[in-house]
């Protein structure tokens, strides 16, 4: 039995500890935001936040996530609500500014990679409130591997990150 806090909830998980976290999330916990893209940590489709840092759940074992906090795409609204101290009824109808920006910019084409893109954007914007285009490109291409989009939505992603950053900065001042 392995204990992991997922989207703010403590979960006891039966799966073998060498199981990649991705399969635990998708198959045991039915959190289907993260996608299987390569199983090699080369694309970012499976990304989640582990203690606030973007990691590739396809190569991270359940055992190495034990005792840590995992946030998936499903958990982004609650993460934002908690950070802003929003009351429950407001939190229930609030999306993360990153998700709102992704909708406003009509960022996804097929959308399969966008889970990882939104997770990476959240990690970046929690660290740098108004990133430049160079900082955004660096964030999405450094680390274990670049985040890949085969449909070529990179322009829309950059525009959405900047929109989300502006929205987050504005709400922090308010």
């Amino acid at each position: 039995m392995t204990t992991v806090t997922v989207n703010g909830v403590r979960r006891e998980i039966q799966a073998p500890t060498d199981t990649p976290l991705l399969y635990v999330l998708r198959n045991d916990l039915e959190l289907t935001g993260p996608q299987f893209g390569c199983g090699l940590a080369q694309c970012g489709a499976c990304s989640v936040l582990l203690n606030g840092k973007e990691v590739r759940s396809c190569i991270m074992t359940l055992g190495s996530a034990a005792g840590k906090e995992v946030t998936t795409l499903e958990g982004l609204p609650a993460r934002w609500a908690k950070q802003k101290g929003l009351p429950d009824e407001e939190a229930a109808k609030t999306l993360h500014p990153v998700q709102e920006a992704w909708i406003e910019e009509q960022t996804p084409l097929c959308g399969f990679c966008q889970n990882g893109m939104m997770i990476k954007a959240t990690e970046l914007l929690e660290r740098v409130s108004s990133p430049t285009v160079t900082e955004i490109k660096d964030a999405f291409t450094s680390g274990v591997s670049p985040h890949l989009c085969r449909c070529g939505s990179y322009t829309a992603i950059i525009q959405a990150v900047q929109r989300a950053g502006a929205a987050m900065a504005k709400r922090s001042q308010a």
Partner: protein
């Protein structure tokens, strides 16, 4: 209204009255159905039976159905809704539901390609028929002739009274039968017939606006049910153990280690080997263990990527397939070239490319004890897949249902039905009597899927002393482009459609003229296309080899690159600015229009050829043009070349697109941006690696694609021409434009011409040193 009314070739009938609700169902009818069809085993649409296509509901909501599925274009959730709303004079938001792709829930079949059907997708005509039917109903209700009625936002007015569409159908069940032709389970599906009056473009209020894509919210909030999320009761997870080479036959299956994998099973059928387990992780590990102990025969039947172009030139047989020639050919090319003051003779080479979806292909199949077969997948052509599965199982097509879900885009790979894993899932499910989910690995997806054909083209052209193109000759050579056989069926030794051949297959091995000629001022033109067998297929004991399949802008990409690079080379010979040279040789004003647009919007510097710079970084500009599916395109690339390393950095891409009527500007802009990135990727990075036995590209390192670091500034200019009266195709072509423009920019920057792709640093370096 009488009980049956003719509406311009469609038949409107009242099925009966109901107390609550009410609906107008717009279905279709084949002109004549031979014989009496038995009811299907599964609840699939029977082409002989009228069925719902567009539904007008009593609550004023509208539902539309299309056999085509979304592959990231968003067209069926935006443009299709806009087109139907426009023809109905209803609000966009009134079309509350779009049902797509499922073979038992949609009427018309067809595939996710040419979604706008040269301006006349089925939904447009269906909408126009329904509008006429609604006018007939309103005319009866209001006692006013049809031609004196007006409609706004789904409310019909006349004679001082008004009635909404919902009220017209309230408490009735009405059925409109629309004439169609074709075969629903073929690649192309059914086509609506007749010529119902269409709304004049001058009265458009919905088309032309940037409505958001209705699936974006569910995808961004993790509420979408992707195909990867489909879970059935009792479902087993599977991984495949594919043959070691593209021609290997199974010698012996590795014994499963039951101590380590007590819940796993191995399924073998012919050369098809799959490993299943109740949990995904056990299936993965067990499959790896079985694979390591499985033995295969050896096979070497491919030229290898290092000898690919030599093989195509010297070894491939281009004489078996009929030669295609362009309708625009004219003049006496040999004499004109002989008389030209300057001449070019050159060969252009394009490697195999992968569709390379971000998610490897996967599917869930459920072969039930009564013989019903359900396939859950992400396919561009559900009806064609359905007929392929039925053929494989030797079962009637009405025993098979294909349901489609959102998935990773794969850009043409499944436009003939099959993406890869569906048939394998069906075979395993049938063997085990349980639902099975087959997930391909990244390696499976690169090595066992189809690829975009490699190609070579040979050009001869002449330029006169005045700087005009006197003659242009091109011979295109490309192996068969479209293999829609189910690969799992091939491995298992089950029936499939024929491989591309000289006679029996849908597409055959013949090449076509894919890239329409746009330089009409040229006095002598001779364009021809030659086809041949897929490489290695007929010598493979599995009959597999390097299978090919259309990839975004199929065939035309392979023909447009050599043409556009050659035209830039001709401009250099002529001493004329390459963009101006193109304008001088064009006659169609829309070709000239897109060229003038990119000149104006890119910061193009009009100049004759500039000799290459020496040291450091050298910058250049290049241009390309294409006409595809009713749409005119031009592209300018501005690049920086590192003269030492040979690395190209694309700094800016400008694309002008004139599709006639722009349906949804914001969505089209995003499509073009994405296509441009794929174009940069194809130009600089992509090349299938293979040896004599099979594909050696196995992951994103051995098949790299563009990352955000490669992203140039992208400027998209949409040219809306309502007067054209038609919608051209918007989501293709953009991926093919960048490479010839970048090659043109390289020539401008360095004086060196890249006649093959990709333009990787070592290749560019070798050009610079030559």
């Amino acid at each position: 209204m009488s009980d049956r009314t003719k509406v311009l070739g469609a038949a409107l009938s009242r099925r009966g009255f109901v107390k609550t609700g009410g609906v107008l169902l717009a279905g279709f009818a084949l002109p004549k159905v031979e014989g009496q069809q038995k009811p299907g085993l599964v609840d699939a649409l029977n082409p002989g039976r009228p069925e719902s296509w567009i539904e007008i509901h009593a609550d004023n909501t509208i539902l539309i159905r299309t056999g085509r599925s979304d592959f990231g274009q968003g067209t069926i959730f935006t443009a299709y809704r806009q087109i139907v709303a426009e023809e109905l004079s209803a609000r966009f938001e009134a079309i509350a539901t779009v049902v797509s792709g499922d073979t038992d829930r949609t009427p018309d079949g067809g595939g996710t390609f040419d979604l706008l059907s040269h301006g006349m997708p089925n939904v447009r005509k269906a909408g126009a028929y329904v509008y006429q039917a609604l006018l007939s109903l309103a005319s009866d209700r209001l006692g006013v002739p049809k031609d004196q009625l007006t409609v706004e936002d789904g409310v019909v007015s006349g004679g001082g009274r008004s009635v909404s569409y919902g009220d017209l159908v309230k408490n009735q069940t009405l059925n409109l039968t629309i004439p169609v032709k074709g075969d629903i389970s073929s690649m192309f599906g059914l086509t609506v017939e007749g010529d119902p009056p269409l709304k004049p473009v001058s009265q458009y209020t919905v088309v032309g606006k940037s409505f958001p894509n209705s699936v974006t919210v569910s995808k961004v909030t993790a509420k979408e049910t992707w195909v990867t999320d489909v879970r059935l009761p009792g479902m087993l997870h599977a991984r495949m153990v594919h043959p070691r080479t593209l021609g290997s036959k199974l010698i012996s299956v590795g014994a499963l280690d039951k101590n380590r994998f007590p819940n796993s099973q191995v399924v073998v059928k012919g050369n098809l080997v799959g490993v299943v387990a109740p949990t995904e992780w056990e299936a993965i590990k067990a499959a790896q263990q079985v694979a390591s102990a499985t033995t295969w025969s050896d096979w070497k039947g491919l030229p290898g990527d290092q000898r690919l172009f030599q093989f195509l030139k010297e070894d491939a047989d281009w004489k078996k397939a009929p030669v295609a020639t362009a309708r625009t050919n004219r003049g006496d090319v040999p004499s004109a070239i002989a008389a030209s003051s300057k001449k070019l003779s050159a060969t252009y080479q394009l490697p195999f490319l992968k569709h390379a979806p971000i998610g490897p292909t996967m599917a869930v199949a459920d072969v039930r004890s009564d013989g019903a077969v359900y396939v859950y997948t992400h396919t561009q052509n559900p009806q064609a897949l359905r007929s392929g599965i039925a053929l494989m199982l030797a079962t009637p097509v009405d025993h098979v249902v294909v349901r489609t879900f959102a998935g990773a885009g794969h850009y043409g790979r499944s436009n003939g039905g099959n993406a890869g894993a569906e048939d394998e899932a069906v075979i395993l499910s049938q063997a085990l009597g349980k639902p099975v989910r087959v997930q391909w690995t990244r390696q499976d997806d690169l090595q066992w899927s189809t690829q975009s054909s490699a190609a070579i083209s040979e050009v001869e052209l002449g330029v006169d002393a005045k700087g005009a193109l006197t003659a242009y000759k091109i011979n295109h050579f490309m192996p068969a482009m479209q293999d829609d056989r189910l690969v799992g069926a091939i491995l298992a030794g089950l029936p499939t459609i024929p491989a591309p051949n000289e006679i029996g297959s849908l597409f055959g091995i013949a090449n076509s003229m894919h890239d329409p000629w746009v330089y009409e001022a040229t006095p002598a033109v001779l364009e021809s296309s030659f086809g041949t067998m897929q490489i290695g297929q007929s010598s493979s004991p599995l009959n597999v080899g390097l299978r090919d399949h259309s990839l975004r802008t199929p065939g035309q990409y392979q023909q447009n690159f050599p043409r556009e690079v050659a035209i830039t080379e001709a401009a250099v010979l002529a001493g004329v600015d390459p963009l101006q040279f193109r304008i001088q040789h064009a006659r169609e004003k829309r070709v000239i229009g897109v060229l003038e647009s990119v000149r104006q919007n890119s910061g193009w510097e009009t100049r004759t050829h500039r000799p290459g710079a020496g040291e450091g970084v050298s910058r250049g500009q290049g241009v390309s043009v294409m006409f595809r599916s009713g749409t005119y395109w031009a592209c300018v690339a501005q690049i920086a070349v590192n003269m030492t390393s040979g690395a190209i950095k694309v700094e800016k891409i400008t694309v002008a697109v004139d599709p006639g009527i722009v349906i949804n500007p914001a969505q089209l802009k995003r499509q073009v941006e994405g296509g441009a990135v794929m174009g940069v990727s194809i130009a600089l990075l992509e090349e299938l690696r293979f040896d004599e036995s099979g594909v050696t590209s196995a992951d994103w390192r051995s098949y790299p694609i563009a990352t955000m670091a490669d992203l140039p500034e992208i400027k998209v200019v949409l040219i809306n021409r309502p007067e054209v009266g038609s919608y051209g195709q918007g989501s293709e072509a953009a991926n093919a434009l960048a490479a010839p423009a970048i090659a043109g920019a390289l020539l401008d920057a360095t004086g060196k011409v890249a006649r093959r792709l990709p333009m990787k640093p070592d290749y560019v370096q070798s050009l610079l040193r030559a």
